[in-house]
C-alpha cells in the first residue's frame, strides 16, 4: 500500500468496503431483531447472543466505516481507542458491580437486615 498522506488524499476510500460494512450491519441488526421477535431461544442465551452481535457490529463499523487499523504508524487513533475502551470497561463494569453489591447489602427492611446479620452470626 502506498504511504498515506491524509485521510482523503493518497489513501483512496473504497466503495466495496462501505458496501460490505453496510450489508454486514444490516444482516447483524436483522438477526438480532428476528431473534427477539420470532426466536424461541431462552433468555439467558439470548442476552449473550445479542451482546455478541452488537460487539461484532461495533467492530464491523469501526473497521469498514471509520477505517480503524489502516492508519500509518504510529497508530495514535488505535491507541486512543484502546484507552477509551479501557475507561468504558472500568466505568460501566464498575458501576454495575458496585450498584448490584449495594442493592444486595441495602435490603428491603431493617428486619430483613437483622435476619441476614443473624444468619451470618454477626450479632
Amino acid at each position: 500500500m502506498s504511504p498515506k498522506v491524509s485521510e482523503h488524499n493518497a489513501h483512496p476510500l473504497s466503495l466495496g468496503k462501505y458496501i460490505g460494512g453496510f450489508l454486514g450491519s444490516i444482516v447483524l441488526t436483522m438477526t438480532a431483531y428476528l431473534l427477539v421477535t420470532r426466536g424461541s431461544v431462552s433468555k439467558g442465551v439470548l442476552v449473550g447472543i445479542l451482546a455478541s452481535l452488537a460487539l461484532v457490529q461495533f467492530v464491523v463499523q469501526m473497521v469498514f466505516f471509520l477505517h480503524v487499523g489502516d492508519e500509518r504508524r504510529p497508530r495514535w487513533k488505535l491507541l486512543v481507542m484502546v484507552m477509551m475502551l479501557g475507561v468504558v470497561l472500568i466505568l460501566v463494569g464498575g458501576s454495575i458491580w458496585i450498584m448490584n453489591d449495594l442493592n444486595y447489602r441495602m435490603m428491603d427492611s431493617p428486619q430483613q437486615m437483622q435476619k441476614y446479620l443473624k444468619s451470618q452470626d454477626a450479632l
Binding site: P3, V5, S6, E7, H8, N9, A10, P12, L13, L15, Y18, I19, G21, F22, S25, I26, T29, A32, Y33, V36, T37, K43, L46, V47, L50, A51, L53, A54, Q57, F58, Q61, M62, F65, L66, W76, K77, V80, M81, M83, M84, V87, V88, L91, V92, S95, I96, M99
Partner: protein
C-alpha cells in the same frame, strides 16, 4: 518522509489535516466515555419503574427497527459522499449529503414522535428512574444527531457557495467521522435499551 525532497505545500497541508483528524478523533473517544456513563446509569436504573411501565410495555420494536435502518443507511450514504468528495465530484457530494441529511432528519422525526407519544401518555422522564435514564441516554444521542444535521446543512451551504475547497473537504471528513460514530453508539442503544428492554432484562 524520505520521498520528500523539496518543500511541498500540499503535503504539509495534508499533515495539518491529519493532525486535525486525530484531534477530532480524541474528542469522539471522550464522547464515547460520556455515553458510557449514561449507559452505566441506565444499566443501574432500568429496573426501577416505580410501578410504571417498563420497556416491554413502552417500546415498539418494528418502529425502532425503521429508525435504526434510517440511521444505518444515512451512515452508508455519508460514506458515499466522502468517496465522491475524494473524486472532487461536487454534484455527487451534494446528492449523497442531501440523502444523508434527509435520512438523519427522518430518524430524528421518528425519535421525537416516539418521545412525544410517551410524554403524552404520562410516561415522561418524571415517571420513574427507568424513564429518566432512558430519556437522558436516548435524548443525548438525539441531541448529537441534531447538531450533526445543523453541521451538515452548514457544510452543504459551504460546498454550494465555495465549492469543494480543501477547507470544506476537511470539515466534511470530520463530519463523516462524527456521523459514523453516532451510528455506532446507536448499535448499543438499539441492543441494550430496546432489544433487552422488550425482553424485560
Amino acid at each position: 518522509m524520505s520521498e520528500v525532497t523539496t518543500l511541498d505545500m500540499p503535503r504539509i497541508e495534508a499533515q495539518a489535516t491529519e493532525k486535525t483528524v486525530l484531534g477530532f478523533w480524541v474528542y469522539l473517544m471522550t464522547d464515547c466515555v460520556l455515553f458510557a456513563s449514561l449507559f452505566a446509569v441506565y444499566a443501574v436504573l432500568h429496573g426501577n419503574t416505580f410501578g410504571g411501565p417498563g420497556g416491554r410495555e413502552l417500546f415498539k420494536l418494528p418502529y425502532v427497527l425503521v429508525e435504526t435502518m434510517a440511521l444505518l443507511t444515512s451512515s452508508f450514504t455519508c460514506g458515499l459522499a466522502m468517496i465522491a468528495a475524494q473524486k472532487r465530484d461536487r454534484s455527487q457530494v451534494l446528492l449523497w449529503l442531501g440523502v444523508t441529511f434527509l435520512l438523519g432528519l427522518t430518524f430524528l422525526g421518528l425519535e421525537l414522535s416516539e418521545f412525544h407519544h410517551m410524554v403524552l401518555d404520562g410516561n415522561g422522564w418524571r415517571r420513574s428512574g427507568f424513564l429518566s435514564s432512558y430519556f437522558t441516554l436516548v435524548g443525548t444521542h438525539g441531541l448529537h444527531i441534531t447538531f450533526g444535521l445543523i453541521w451538515m446543512a452548514v457544510i452543504g451551504i459551504f460546498i454550494v457557495r465555495r465549492g469543494l475547497t480543501d477547507g470544506t473537504l476537511k470539515r466534511l471528513t470530520l463530519l463523516s467521522l462524527f456521523w459514523h460514530f453516532l451510528d455506532i453508539v446507536w448499535i448499543f442503544i438499539f441492543t441494550i435499551v430496546y432489544l433487552f428492554g422488550s425482553l424485560n432484562i
